[in-house]
């Protein structure tokens, strides 16, 4: 039974009508992972435990959850009990957590089966998955091209049809940008919607977990399970969680969509622009209205982000010191030497670069000029969004200024070039707002993503808006040939 490229809803039907068992489905998923090993989506497989859980689920099939028996992949940044969790870093290459992240636990409690941990940019720092200690992930659409990042392994695994959905995390675009580059759907929820307990922190005030899937509907299914207040994460939101799937098919007649004036789209590749104009027409046909809006401070998003995120990361990554867990250097002379060698050997260049930037931004004499100033600008950006959402329902932008690029072609000389990849995605992290990327066509045979940004806790509206687009287009159904990988 072919399960490749099937959505959760399709697999659910196959399981429910017994055309496949959970055991078989899980086996198929593992087989696909092996078949496309060259994509390098996975850092660690969970074959023995995953298969055992599948077998047990078949014999005790009482769970009514949509996710019961569905194979999923988890970004290797979520701690998973007894399953190696590396953050794609050498420093954690031997780390086996004694506990499971809340987001993953909730998905597993709903009956899903974790088949493995996906490759990513080291500690989620990157936009191309090229900073992983475990090597590059290929874009399933084109060998030798990046899948985007940092959740590149999750995006590629879904795009290649190995699993119907995967978890990711998004600090500045790390779910949406790889979703766009791989031609799938990815949702970053409102900050605090999903618990961060067990998510290895990059930038605590920006990090948010979310789903990557083939459709908005499947994203809604995952979000239903992942969301909710967690007493172990006091920054998680104590708000009602609606049934995201139940409300996904509402008409959007009269929906007001904002186009951000400050994002000068005429600078973009003309094909990317053309796709954007096409999608506007699709929405107009569905009854939506477009309004140009201004977010005067949004152009400061990238520098603001690159002051705050590294500052928090420099502190968050201090615990990787070789003392209690992770890589410890050999032949050290004293405690300081242990720190210096363990961290120098354990971290890759991009991580070191961001620790240095962040340490600088927080240091005495610079704190006011960088970190504090950035927090003030962040507040202004958030205020801009609050203002704009008084007159529009959602905002629409391209997800990324361009399509996936070739390995090594960007940022090797000037890292800032790569930082600009996040131009359209970063502001919603700074403002804590939900945003989704959906595929809306291709340029030069590579997928292009459309981003919708929603108001605070309005994931239901975003998913609804995304789903109606997918109901009226077939971009999300496109499948890569994968002929170069098997």
């Amino acid at each position: 039974m072919n399960i490749q490229f099937k959505s959760i809803i399709e697999l659910r039907e196959m399981l429910d009508n017994k055309s496949i068992s959970i055991t078989e489905l899980t086996q198929e998923s593992f087989l696909l992972a092996k078949k496309y090993d060259e994509l390098n989506c996975f850092v660690t497989m969970n074959e023995e435990v995953g298969q055992k859980k599948a077998d047990a689920a078949d014999s005790n099939n009482k769970n009514s959850s949509m996710l019961f028996g569905i194979p999923l992949a988890q970004k290797d940044l979520f701690c998973t009990e007894n399953l190696r969790t590396t953050c794609s870093s050498k420093i954690l290459s031997n780390f086996i957590p004694p506990y499971t992240a809340t987001a993953v636990k909730k998905l597993e409690d709903a009956g899903s089966i974790t088949i493995g941990k996906t490759n990513m940019d080291e500690f989620a720092m990157g936009s191309s998955n090229e900073t992983s200690f475990f090597g590059n992930v290929h874009n399933p659409w084109k060998k030798g091209y990046v899948p985007g990042g940092s959740s590149g392994g999750s995006a590629a695994a879904v795009a290649a049809g190995i699993v119907p959905a995967a978890t990711g995390t998004d600090t500045g675009g790390s779910i949406r940008q790889p979703a766009a580059h791989c031609g799938i759907t990815g949702l970053k929820p409102t900050y605090g919607r999903v618990s961060r307990w067990g998510m290895i922190a990059f930038a605590s005030s920006l990090d948010q977990a979310g789903p990557l899937a083939r459709t908005a509907e499947d994203c809604a299914i995952l979000l239903n399970s992942m969301s909710g207040y967690d007493s172990k994460d006091t920054t998680s939101l104590n708000s009602d969680v609606p049934d995201f799937l139940a409300n996904i098919n509402q008409p959007i007649d009269g929906l007001k969509i904002g186009i951000i004036k400050e994002f000068n789209l005429s600078d973009l590749d003309s094909e990317v622009q053309a796709r954007f104009e096409e999608s506007k027409k699709t929405y107009e046909k569905l009854g939506a209205k477009f309004i140009e809006v201004s977010l005067p401070n949004i152009s400061a998003s990238v520098p603001t982000y690159y002051s705050i995120a590294p500052a928090e990361c420099s502190s968050n990554l201090s615990r990787f010191d070789g003392v209690r867990f992770g890589h410890r250097a050999k032949n050290t002379t004293d405690l300081n030497d242990l720190y210096i060698k363990s961290r120098s050997e354990g971290f890759g260049d991009e991580v070191k670069r961001r620790i240095l930037i962040g340490t600088y931004a927080l240091s005495a004499g610079y704190y006011d000029a960088y970190y504090k100033k950035a927090q003030q600008v962040r507040r202004l950006i958030k205020n801009d969004f609050d203002q704009v959402f008084q007159s529009v329902d959602v905002l629409m932008t391209p997800t990324s200024p361009n399509t996936a690029f070739e390995f090594g072609s960007k940022g090797t000389q000037n890292p800032v070039e790569l930082y600009l990849e996040d131009l359209f995605t970063i502001s919603s992290n700074l403002a804590g707002l939900p945003a989704i990327s959906i595929p809306h066509g291709q340029v030069n045979s590579l997928p292009v993503g459309l981003q919708l940004i929603g108001n605070f806790l309005k994931e239901d509206q975003l998913l609804n808006t995304a789903h109606l687009f997918q109901k009226n287009s077939d971009f999300h159904l496109a499948q890569p040939s994968l002929e170069d990988f098997s």
């Binding site: 961060r196 307990w197 290895i200 605590s204 994460d233 920054t235 201090s318 209690r324 405690l335």
Partner: protein, 475 residues
Amino acid sequence: MSWETVIGLETHVQLSTKTKLFSRASTAFGASPNTNVNLIDCGLPGVLPSVNKEAFYKAIRFGMAIDAQINQVSIFDRKNYFYADLPKGYQITQMDLPIVLGGSINIVSGETTKTINITRAHLEEDAGKSIHDEYDGYSAIDLNRAGTPLLEIVSEPEISSAKEAVAYMKAMHQLVTYLDVSDGNMAQGSLRCDANVSIRKKGDKDLGTRTEIKNINSFKFIEKAINFEIKRQIKILEKGETVTQETRLYDSSKDETRSMRSKEFANDYRYFPEPDLLPVVISDEEIKRIKDEFPELPSEKEMRYQQDFKISAYDAQIIASSKSMADFFEAAAEQTGNYNLLANWLIGEISAYLNKELIEINESKLSIANVAILINRIDDQTISGKIGKAIFEEMCISGISPDEIIESQGLKQISDDGAIEEIINSVINDNPAQVEAYRGGKDKLFGFFVGQVMKLTQGKANPKTVNAILNEKLK
């Protein structure tokens, strides 16, 4: 040249909460290494702190007692530095918006009372412990203490001598134990301080360069360390040299302070607001509840003791000055009727013993029940006060009940007139010369006869009865 000392103290008070500041692991002292530790305490990847409100309630109680401003919205910050017993590589503390701001505390040094202003008091987590001498070639880490809540209380630089510093710490000890904010156990590190010491010419307005003596944990060491440091700094200044701003450690074995690190090598702690925690908001209802449940303070106890127990103002003041003593007094008073005798014993024999041993009453072998029994046996004349003292000494060592000691050693007082009269008769018969002399006017010999009676009865004769019968017989 006349010099003037300026001292500011940073006091670290370990709060007596059951669990840690950001995790639900136990704070119990003395557990096996790394047993009171959970995922959060060892700083595993992906863990997050959550605030223990109980620590806030205790901090607020302290703030109310010193008449400070309570910040009902306070925030946590990260203080970043690397050390092996600091699991996260940063300490969660309060920098910009501490829970307690301002206030003051009165100290009594010698005859004078002085008010020392408090700058602020903030909550923070303690670090673990590094053990360097137990494993050859390795250092060991014990994280039991990591995450234990501390209240750091910063005084204004208004303390002028080592003696005042000790008085300040004693006042602090009394306050935090009274408020049940801390157990105040200095030997276990529940109360310790850093002293900022500087010297200036008398009359100067500007402060001199200060040094900070870290982690002093006894009243005695506070006095010695500060006095050493004052002398050291004056010596430097009198040579015309300048004091280096630095952190110093007090070595009690050599009675000296020595340099730990100078300012040039000081850490840049890169403080910034802790993004894993929202601002902590204390509601008006919570404030009200803390006020309603506010414990009785020493001055209030003093008044009540005089009224309820009819003990003297002096006794009441001494007993009320120590929380453990006051608790003991009140509990024992429920089991005995002679409050004055109980008070006398507490501030007399019992205090003398505790001072000698340098312990608090709750750390001794003296139980409330046993002390009450002892008072009752003296009160009902089963034993004399003198025998009581001998029994007390035994109780201090063994913790055995006075009744048992009386029974096993046959110490019951002889109050039987007939028995005592018999003994007195034999004393008079055996000492005719002394009887003669006494009757001839040598009154002082009365004591001799009492002594003889006591000797024959091993001190067990009721002294009142002895006196009465002797008086009669020697007429």
